[in-house]
């Protein structure tokens, strides 16, 4: 079989798996969306108020926090994974929580990775709102609360872009969730292509395991779904950037 035939057959099988709504593929996609979506929502709920606090309040340690956030934007995922693993294993300081190798541990890892990204980009969007606009709120009789509402409104597209950038990062992440999630699937694809269901197996971790097992068609199918999801997120982000 030539390389071209090998790829074509892989692609054909991949599309068959996708369009037949294969339960194994669907369950992996579901876990990916649930884990990354939950982590992104939680990160946004932390990051947006935090970015407003950093923009509006002058508190002790503010500059240190900004430096930490900027550093956090480039955190190596495997380091975060290792850190959380050490914390969550039964012998670790948070071992009593008993969440290692569960979706909760994966959400925690992605939360730590994504929060600085959303905070950093949101902070830039908030800082881009002209000071004169905030002063206009005050001169028209508005309070600090009104100033925050106007800033949120003016920076909304930038903040949405930040959330989508965080979601894109979470969906594409592999190192941290592989370490803390364990890439677990019930039965997996051991009994044949496209069988089993995912517990902590996501699109990215499944691609690594399926490829190593030689199940190229399943890997390609998962890759197509992953790229489609990331492309959709990026198209949305571009749409909001254009509107800004």
């Amino acid at each position: 079989m030539s390389t071209a035939d090998f790829l074509v057959q892989g692609l054909i099988k991949a599309f068959e798996l996708i369009f037949s709504l294969n339960p194994y593929i669907l369950s992996i996609t579901g876990v990916s969306i649930k884990v990354s979506g939950t982590a992104t929502i939680l990160a946004a709920l932390t990051a947006i108020p935090l970015s407003f606090a950093l923009a509006f309040l002058n508190f002790r340690g503010r500059q240190t926090l900004i430096t930490l956030i900027n550093t956090g934007m480039g955190l190596p995922p495997v380091f975060v994974g290792l850190f959380i693993f050490v914390m969550l294993v039964p012998a670790g300081p948070l071992g009593f929580a008993d969440i290692i190798f569960t979706p909760f541990a994966m959400i925690l890892a992605q939360y730590i990775l994504v929060t600085p990204i959303i905070t950093g980009i949101s902070l830039s969007a908030i800082k881009a709102v002209p000071k004169s606009l905030i002063e206009t709120v005050y001169t028209l009789g508005g309070s600090q609360k009104d100033a925050i509402i106007v800033t949120l409104s003016e920076a909304r597209f930038g903040i949405i872009t930040a959330i989508l950038a965080g979601l894109g990062r979470a969906l594409a992440e592999v190192g941290a969730i592989l370490i803390v999630g364990g890439n677990i699937a019930y039965s997996g694809s051991i009994g044949g292509i496209g069988e089993g269901s995912s517990y902590t197996r996501t699109l990215t971790t499944a691609i690594t395991s399926e490829t190593s097992k030689g199940d190229i068609s399943t890997s390609i199918a998962l890759g197509i779904i992953l790229i489609s999801l990331n492309l959709s997120v990026n198209l949305l982000a571009n749409y909001f950037q254009r509107r800004d």
């Binding site: 004169s132 606009l133 009789g141 003016e154």
Partner: protein
């Protein structure tokens, strides 16, 4: 005449630089007071202190006999119009209605007052237009409508016509005169536009290098200035 704002011994420094030096001034209710001086003389800083954006190093401010407590309450009695208006990325209506909304005014009254304000500035019919698409002159007039819509007692104007063409300058001056006449609004105008001062001011203060060197009625100050620097500035000579 009733004194609306009383300023005593106002002093302001930015780092080592003295921006305002021992300013003593009384603004009378219903007058158009022009604070005149070259760029960098401290006019904008003076207005920003009056609207509580800057805290003076020294001095005392009284608004209508009231100590400056409860900043938001005093601020709500006045309005500051910046040289370059900052526009909310919303419709003209929402921009103009903003000051009323933060005061909790009901929707029907807001609609009526916004309509009146837009009529005064000649922008009726543009309520639904996105404010960021207005021309420079229209944007300044919209900002004017936004500043007067809640009937402030005091209107602080910082070079309101500096970036406008003659037609828009004329319109803005007409609006200033109309507001004062119809609403008896006290207007403090910071400008370096001498012909404009001649056209609309009642009293004039000359501010040069942070020092208020002369205050008098328009006629007196143009006819017989008591300070040589005032005379030179009003004649368009370099005094700084």
């Amino acid at each position: 005449m009733y004194v609306l704002i009383s300023i005593e011994g106002l002093h302001m420094v930015f780092g080592e630089k003295e921006v305002l030096k021992d300013i003593n001034l009384q603004i009378l209710r219903g007058e158009i007071f022009a604070l005149v001086g070259p760029s960098g003389s401290g006019k904008t800083t003076f207005l920003r202190i009056l609207d509580f954006f800057e805290r003076p190093a020294k001095g005392n401010l009284e608004f209508n006999g009231m100590e400056t407590s409860g900043i938001i309450n005093i601020r709500r009695r006045m309005s500051l119009l910046f040289q370059t208006p900052a526009i909310f990325n919303r419709s003209v209506f929402e921009n103009v209605a903003y000051g009323l909304k933060v005061r909790g005014i009901d929707k029907k009254t807001i609609e009526k007052k916004v309509s009146e304000a837009l009529c005064i500035v000649g922008l009726s019919g543009l309520e639904k237009q996105k404010a960021t698409t207005l021309s420079g002159g229209e944007a300044q007039r919209m900002a004017f409508a936004r500043a007067i819509v809640y009937d402030p007692e005091i209107l602080l104007l910082d070079e309101p016509t500096a970036n406008l063409d003659p037609a828009n300058v004329m319109k803005i001056e007409e609006i200033i005169k109309r507001i004062r006449k119809e609403r008896e609004t006290t207007i403090l105008l910071a400008t370096h536009n001498i012909p404009q001062v001649r056209r609309i001011a009642d009293r004039v203060g000359i501010l040069i290098n942070g020092e208020l060197i002369e205050v008098n009625t328009k006629d007196a100050i143009f006819k017989d200035p008591t300070d040589k620097r005032s005379e030179a500035f009003l004649k368009g000579e370099m005094v700084y």
